[in-house]
Each structure stands twice: as C-alpha cells, then as structure tokens.
C-alpha cells in the first residue's frame, strides 16, 4: 500500500499540470459544466489540443492511437483536469463508451473508420439507449431495426441523449427481432446522425438549459456493416459499453466534487458559516475524502485483477447524493441571494445552476434506485428484488 504516485506517475502528473497551466485558455478555465460544455469552437479546439498533446484515450491500446497507459494515468488525468477546472474533451461518449466498445467488438473496418477520429474530436458521438417507455428498464427497448437486403431500417424514439445535437454518430440499441422480448433480439447499430429520417429535439431541463435530446428515427437506413458485434447480440455489447462507462467514472466524479467542495469552502469563508453549517461542510469534506480513497481502492483492484473492485459500484450513487447536499448547503449559505440568477447572482450563478442540475444526478446514468438494486443483488448477493 502506497497512496503516493510512483515516480513515473509523479512525472506524468507534473508534466500534465505544467501543460494545463500553459495551454488552457483563460476563457475555458473555471468552466461550470452544464450545456456550455458542448458549445463554441473553443471547446472543439481544446479537445484537439488534448489529442495533440497525447491526453486523449490515455488507456486505449497504442495500436489504435491511444496512450497505452495504466488506469492510474487516466485517474491522474481526471484529477488534474478537474483541479484546473478545464472542460472535458468534447468526445466524452466516443472516448468513454463508443471507442472501447468498438475496440472490443468492432470490425476492422469500423476500427479504421472511427477510432482515430474519436481521439481527435473529428467525430462526436452520442448514445441511443433510453426510450420514453424504457428508462431504467433498458431491456424494454422498442426502437425497431428491420433488415431489408443490405441495410437495417430503423424506426423509433430515444431520449436523454446528450451530445446528440452536435453528434456525427450514434451508438444505437435497437430491437431487430420484432417477436423477441427483453434481452434477446437486440442489435447494436452505428448510425450516421446525418442520415435522412434522423431528427434531434433538445430537451430543456429545470436549469433552463438543454443538455439532453430526444432523437426520432423514421425509416432511417443503416448499412449492415454498421452492426456492432452480432445481430441479436446487442445486449451483451451494450453491457460492455456500460461497464466502460463505469470504469473510471468514479474518478471523474470525485475530481469534480473536489472542485465543488473547494468552492463551498471559499463561499463559507466569504460569507461566514454558523456552527451547524461548519459541521455540514466538514461532513462533506470527509465524505469527499471517503469517495476519493474508495476510487483509489477500486482502481488498485482494477490494476491488479483487471476488474474494478466492488467498491466502485457505490461511487456514482454516493457522489450524486453528496453533490446534491453540497448544492443545498451552498444555497443555505447564500440565504436570500440564492434566488438571484444570471448577472445579479453571486459567483455568476454557479451555485444556483449547480444545485438545480444536481437533482438530475440521482436519475441520469442509472437511477439511485436501480444502483441500490445492483449493490444489493450483485455485491451483497441478496435475492432479486420485486
């Protein structure tokens, strides 16, 4: 056990920190997240800069243009990016989900076509998983893909798809066997978002911003060579995608929480805090350290065994609740000023946005109810809940 960076890790961290200090444009620093993270040419240029410096796809194999680094490098990368308050590479879905799934299940042609363009932010991806009738229950997918000669014809609707409004490609889960039920008969397709019949409508959230989209598919033609994995084997491939989503997610979340806790402490120093508020702030700082070191423990297991430790399954859930408590605590510190938005608001409205946005954290990417089921069943071994 040694919680310090190895000499190689320390060197990587120091270089990255220097590079960030030199390369991150001032306009992008202190990025508050939300819809702003998709927009503007600056974010795309920043993504390209990350790629050119070798920071895109750190853990991807070198043969596909990645860094071939151990997972700890990705963890360090996420920590330092968050500490610098730098926006993420625009290709979050491509780097974290589509790319790894293509590496695991894709054809050589698919690998050649997509992987390097994902790294360089020349291709932006979105995913098409959730449907209006199938939120937590992914196996209830009804978007249909009908095989006609050398192409699938896709009809249906997806929802809660971030990046869809700027995406070039969609990783789409469809039902290719109309008589099938639940996990069988699903096929995973790579869909060109510029195909005729694809329509994207932004979904406005309670923050007033639109970060997610609905995607409507009407008779969209997808060539059979765009099947990812086997026809009818979509469920297994989708599970790979979700596993990759959850791999180093904990680090990204914890690193972002660290920034928010630091800002909360500054807020309390600026405005003063009562004894009960100080107690709550200390509680959140302690919880953050717990999350951070739990992410380290999970990562150590991943690096030793190739499988993330069971501790990792708890990070998203605990983070989401911590992030919600943090936002409410900040509003309490702001008192009546918490009502102010935009220009009048203290700290540019950071906390007002944070607090409302955080209500989505326990819903998106697996609701807390589903995640508790998963912990109960897969980690504790309790019987499947009804």
């Amino acid at each position: 056990m040694d919680l310090r960076d190895t000499p190689d890790e320390a060197r990587f961290r120091a270089e990255l920190r220097d590079w960030l200090a030199a390369s991150l444009p001032d306009g992008l620093r202190g990025h508050r997240g939300g819809a702003a993270r998709f927009e503007g040419e600056a974010v795309r240029e920043w993504s390209r800069a990350l790629y050119e410096a070798g920071y895109a796809g750190l853990t991807w194999p070198k043969e596909y243009g990645g860094g071939g680094c151990p997972y700890s490098y990705q963890a360090i990368f996420l920590e330092e990016m968050a500490r610098a308050e730098a926006p993420h590479h625009l290709g979050v879905i491509g780097l974290g989900m589509a790319g790894p799934t293509i590496i695991a299940h894709g054809s050589e042609a698919q690998k050649a076509r997509h992987l390097s363009r994902i790294l360089s932010a020349d291709e932006i991806w979105c995913q098409g998983f959730s449907e209006p009738g199938a939120g937590s229950d992914l196996s209830a997918v009804r978007t249909s893909a009908r095989l006609e000669a050398d192409r699938f014809v896709v009809d249906g609707q997806k929802v809660w798809s971030s990046f869809a409004h700027i995406a070039d490609w969609c990783l789409l889960l469809t039902r290719s066997d109309p008589g099938s039920e639940r996990h069988a008969g699903l096929t995973y397709l790579i869909v060109d978002m510029r195909s005729p019949g694809v329509e994207v409508r932004p979904l406005r959230q309670m923050t007033g911003e639109a970060e997610f989209n609905e995607i409507f598919f009407s008779a969209v033609e997808v060539p059979v060579e765009n099947v990812l994995g086997e026809v009818g084997g979509g469920w297994q491939v989708a599970m790979t995608t979700l596993l990759h989503e959850r791999g180093t997610l904990g680090f990204a979340l914890t690193a972002a929480l660290e920034v928010a806790v630091r800002k909360l402490i500054e807020l309390a120093q600026d405005r003063g805090a009562t004894a009960t508020q100080r107690d709550a702030i200390a509680r959140e700082w302690i919880e953050l350290q717990g999350l951070r070191f739990t992410a380290y423990r999970s990562l150590s297991a991943l690096m030793k065994t190739g499988v993330p430790g069971p501790e990792g399954s708890i990070l998203k859930l605990q983070w989401s609740e911590a992030n919600q408590r943090l936002g409410k605590l900040a509003l309490e510190l702001l008192a009546q000023d918490a009502q102010l938005l935009a220009d009048n608001a203290p700290y540019g409205g950071y906390w007002q946005h944070h607090q409302l946005r955080s209500r989505g954290n326990t819903i998106e990417a697996g609701t807390s109810e589903i995640l508790r089921n998963i912990v109960a069943e897969r980690v504790l071994g309790l019987p499947r809940s009804r």
């Binding site: 918490a338 009502q339 102010l340």
Partner: protein
C-alpha cells in the same frame, strides 16, 4: 378540543381550488371580486369580517396552484398595518401591497403600493423606482426599489413582530400546498408509469419515500394549522408556532418536491413539467426571511434559555 375546519371553510377551500386551477395569474380585481382580498377586513369596510383561518385556507390553496399574485404580501404581511380606509381599498381590489424590509422585495411586479419601515413607524413609500431581477421562482419574482420617499404613516413599527408571525405562518401554509401537490403528482405517476412490467408504485424504493413524504407533510401541516389557529385567536404562542411551522413546512415541501422529481425520473427534471416550478417555490419559501436553522435557533433560545417568553 376541535381541530377541524368548519363546513364554510371547507367550502371556501373547494371554491378556491377550482378557481385557482383555472386562473394561475388572476387579476387583483378578480380576487377582490371573489371576496378574498377582504376576507379578514371588517364588514363595515367592505370585507367579510372573517379571520386568519380563512386566509390560511386561501394561502394554502395559492401555494398548491402557484398563484402569481401579491396575496401573501398584501393580506398576510401588510394588511394589519393598514389604516381602515386603506384596508377598504384592499377589500375593494383597488390596492395591493408589498413590504420592502431588505434589499430584495417580493411581488414587486404585481403589488401596486409599497410599505417601508423607518424609525418607529411603517410608512408608505412614494415615488420609488422599481427594477425587477431575474430570479429562480418566476411565480414570485423579486425586485429592488430605488429612490422614493416616506409618504403616509401607516402604523407603528411595534406591529412588525405580528406581521412577521403572519408572514411565516402563511408561507408555512403555502409550503403545505406546494408539497401536497408535488406528492399527488408523484402518486399519480407511480400508479401509471410501468417499468419491468409493473407500475413503479409496487416497488418499495418508490412507495416508501412517498409514504415518508406523506407523513412529513401531514406533520408539517399540523404545525401550520396550529400556527394559523394561534394567530386567529391571538394566542401568545403564535410567534413560536409560526417559527416552528415555517421551519418544518418549508423543509417538508422541499423534500416532497425532490422525492417527486426522483419518482418521476427524467421527465420530472424537464422544464415542461410543473414540478420544477413547485420546487422553486418551495426553495423560495425556505430561503425567505429565515432558514430552518435560523428558526430552530430562535426556538432553541426559547426552550433552553427562556428567551422571548
């Protein structure tokens, strides 16, 4: 010992519920026409000569409906400070009021007149400019006043504690309305929305938090009604009851909205759904005047140090 509304009060509630559901932004004249703006104004001044329990019914319903009107600021806050002829104007729907106590002033977009505190008196503020701010709860916006000068003297400032007690009790009641509606929406959704082949209300992960919400709201409502009754009969516990009620009801309403959003999943997080507006009102109520922690600190001072007795 009788802790139930009269049939007349129940009737007022059902009238209010149907009117407000149809009129989220009623004009002041419409509210006056229904007799609501003068419900506690003496009959000789054109009012109904009733009391705070009837006002309690109305503000609870306005919370539920997210009514955008200066009813709380006029009737719950400023009314007791108004001389008889100004009370008559309120009853007649000719004037509505807000109180500018701090830099942020509520209902400044709709209230026709402004009261301020200066020295030992409460005055009408004349000739002030108004600037509306972009704020979180669009149904109860805040603004700032600029300039202006003290006009007519309305009352002595010894009335302020009573006004604050009425304000807190009314906000507690509004919070009860907000919370109850958020819970009803969640219950209806949980009966109808299916996942894994069953309505989600069969899952205890959904149903138990809603049961908890029901329980918290009922407890909170008992406090709000206690405070309302204390005000109606001028009970010496009114200030304590209103502080307790405002603390508990605001937090219960915020939690009710949060659990309702969670039970709704993604749809509850959208701009189109009414839930975020209920939530923002609940947050407004919580942040206005004094937070739950500040109110509990007042309560603790009474309990532990014998202050304010």
């Amino acid at each position: 010992m009788d802790f139930a509304f009269t049939p007349e009060q129940d009737e007022l509630r059902s009238q209010a519920r149907s009117f407000l559901a149809a009129h989220p932004e009623p004009s002041w004249a419409e509210l006056a026409g229904l007799g609501w703006t003068g419900v506690s104004v003496p009959e000789e001044l054109g009012g109904a000569g009733l009391g705070f329990l009837e006002e309690a019914v109305l503000v609870e319903e306005m919370g539920r409906a997210l009514t955008h009107a200066p009813f709380w600021s006029t009737v719950a806050v400023v009314l007791p400070a108004l001389p008889p002829e100004l009370q008559a104007q309120v009853a007649a729907g000719e004037a509505s009021w807000t109180l500018a106590l701090g830099p942020l002033v509520p209902d400044l977009d709709t209230a026709t007149r402004i009261a301020v505190v200066g020295g030992d008196s409460i005055w009408e503020l004349d000739g002030a400019g108004r600037e509306m701010l972009q704020t979180n709860d669009a149904t109860r916006p805040l603004g700032v006043v600029t300039g202006g000068s003290a006009g007519r003297r309305l009352a002595g400032s010894e009335l302020l504690p009573r006004m604050r007690t009425r304000s807190r009790a009314a906000l507690a009641l509004e919070a009860c309305g907000v919370g109850a509606r958020a819970l009803e929406l969640a219950v209806a959704y949980a009966k109808e929305r299916e996942q894994f082949g069953r309505p989600i209300g069969v899952y205890q992960a959904i149903s138990h938090p809603l049961a908890t919400t029901y329980m918290e709201l009922e407890l909170a409502r008992s406090l709000a009604l206690w405070a309302a009754w204390c005000i109606a009969v001028d009970d010496p516990q009114a200030g304590l009851a209103a502080a307790a009620a405002k603390a508990q009801c605001a937090e219960a309403a915020v939690a009710a909205c949060e659990r309702s959003i969670q039970a709704h999943g993604g749809i509850g997080f959208t701009w189109e759904h009414v839930l975020h507006r209920l939530y923002k009102r609940a947050l407004w109520i919580q942040s206005w005047d004094a937070s739950g922690a500040q109110l509990r600190s007042e309560v603790a001072a009474r309990l532990l140090d014998g202050e304010g007795e």
